[in-house]
């Protein structure tokens, strides 16, 4: 596996590693996990509503937890799912701590201007706008729905996995997803209609 490297072997030599179940892959080193999954954790946190300027800090908090718990990670669960659970907790702590002003706008007019109705030569700026617009829409979803939506649509987890991760029934996952989708699609439509109206007179 990609993750296992030199430092682990140094540990082996020191005899500090307990005998491994032969059928099971070794627990990867913390640094490998950090370097491999930093982007994933950062992105998951952002999708769960952590603001851009705070995402690195929260990500590092996640990894401190990872560091403390890595030895208890069992390969039965996917590492991503395990990390995602820690992200969920961190994101919900983040939302609870200190009143977070939602700096993302929820006004369709502003969202439309963010979503780049006019051609923009700079792809980078274009994509930034789109991210901001999409975030604004996500921010409109009730938290419980948003989490399910993000897990299913963006993290591509299955209904069963989501149910297990969140400790809810698959039926609840489905109904939250349905509601979240309806709201997301409606808001996305508002945004694009607004862009179209803005373009029309030109």
């Amino acid at each position: 596996m990609l993750l296992r490297r030199q430092e682990d072997r140094r540990d082996d030599k020191a005899g500090s590693e307990p005998p491994l179940d032969a059928a099971r892959a070794p627990v990867p080193s913390f640094r490998d996990v950090y370097l491999t999954y930093y982007d994933f954790v950062w992105g998951a946190l952002r999708r769960l509503g952590v603001r851009d300027q705070d995402a690195n800090d929260v990500a590092q908090k996640v990894f401190i937890v990872v560091h403390l718990k890595l030895s208890t990670f069992e390969n039965r669960a996917s590492l991503r799912t395990w990390l995602f659970r820690i992200c969920l907790n961190a994101a919900s702590d983040y939302r609870r701590s200190a009143p977070i002003r939602r700096e993302v706008t929820t006004e369709p007019a502003e969202i439309a201007s963010l979503s780049g109705a006019q051609e923009d030569a700079l792809e980078e700026r274009e994509s930034r706008r789109r991210v901001a617009a999409a975030e604004a829409i996500l921010a409109k979803l009730p938290e419980a729905q948003r989490v399910v939506f993000v897990l299913f649509e963006l993290e591509e987890m299955s209904g069963n996995e989501i149910a297990k991760t969140l400790g809810i029934s698959v039926g609840t996952v489905r109904s939250r997803l349905r509601l979240a989708r309806a709201l997301f699609l409606r808001e996305a439509k508002r945004v694009s209609e607004h862009s179209a109206r803005k373009l029309a007179p030109q």
Binding site: P18, D39, I64, L70, T72, S158
Partner: protein, 233 residues
């Protein structure tokens, strides 16, 4: 009852919606894990009496990526990290691959890097990347360049796939297979191949390949993803 089709995979969803979702899925930090590792290590060092868990290989005092050899090591890990992240989240490849083009530090690779399957020597197309002078580690250096070339090809396939050209992606992937039969990114290649096969309408070939992958790499994080794929069939 099976899961509904994902919006991003649905054909009835507007391009606008797809673009919004895709942009959420591709959000990427300005600074990579590699760039933030120093700060992370410093935080860990400040933790009160952290006992490294057995097998984690974590020693708060050790891990700062400092010396040249460590930096080179980190560069390589970066490649792997980037790849894993790409497969997982569809991260923006182009930028990641750009960073690979930076010349490795000169005293590179005194520490051997354990790669899963060291690329065989015959599979070494010369990449366009700069090849800085390296005193004593020419083989390692060329290995790093090969990794870069391999990563670029994989990135290309990924872009083609995302751009709606699974056939082009498959052709890039088969080139990848020819040129790097035992490269460092074979698992990632296989995962993308499964996706490309599925996207090109060869569902049974995709499922077959996915099952073979799971059988060969039961503990790989990719297997969980592929397992879902198989189950969704």
């Amino acid at each position: 009852m099976s899961d509904p089709e994902r919006l991003l995979e649905s054909h009835v969803v507007d391009t606008d919606v797809r673009d919004l979702l895709e942009s959420l899925r591709r959000m990427k930090p300005e600074r990579s894990g590699l760039q933030t590792w120093g700060a992370m290590a410093a935080k860990l060092a400040k933790l009160p009496t952290v006992v490294p868990a057995p097998g984690t290989g974590v020693h708060p005092s050790i891990p700062v990526a400092g010396g040249a050899s460590k930096a080179a090591l980190a560069l390589k890990i970066g490649v792997i990290a980037v790849t894993a992240a790409m497969v997982g989240t569809g991260a923006l490849w182009v930028r990641s691959v750009d960073t690979l083009a930076e010349p490795a530090p000169s005293a590179a690779l005194t520490a051997p890097v354990a790669m899963p399957d060291p690329p065989s020597t015959e599979a070494a197309p010369t990449p366009d990347a700069p090849t800085p002078k390296v005193e004593n580690s020419a083989p390692s250096m060329s290995r790093s360049s090969r990794l870069e070339a391999e990563a670029s090809l994989l990135a290309k396939a990924r872009v083609q796939l995302r751009g709606g050209s699974p056939e082009a992606a498959l052709s890039t992937l088969s080139k990848l297979q020819r040129e790097f039969p035992s490269g460092a990114l074979t698992q990632e290649r296989d995962v993308v191949t499964v996706e490309a096969l599925a996207a090109s309408g060869s569902a049974s070939a995709a499922a077959h390949k996915a099952q073979a992958f799971i059988a060969a790499h039961p503990t790989s994080p990719h297997s969980a993803t592929l397992q879902r794929f198989v189950e969704a069939k």
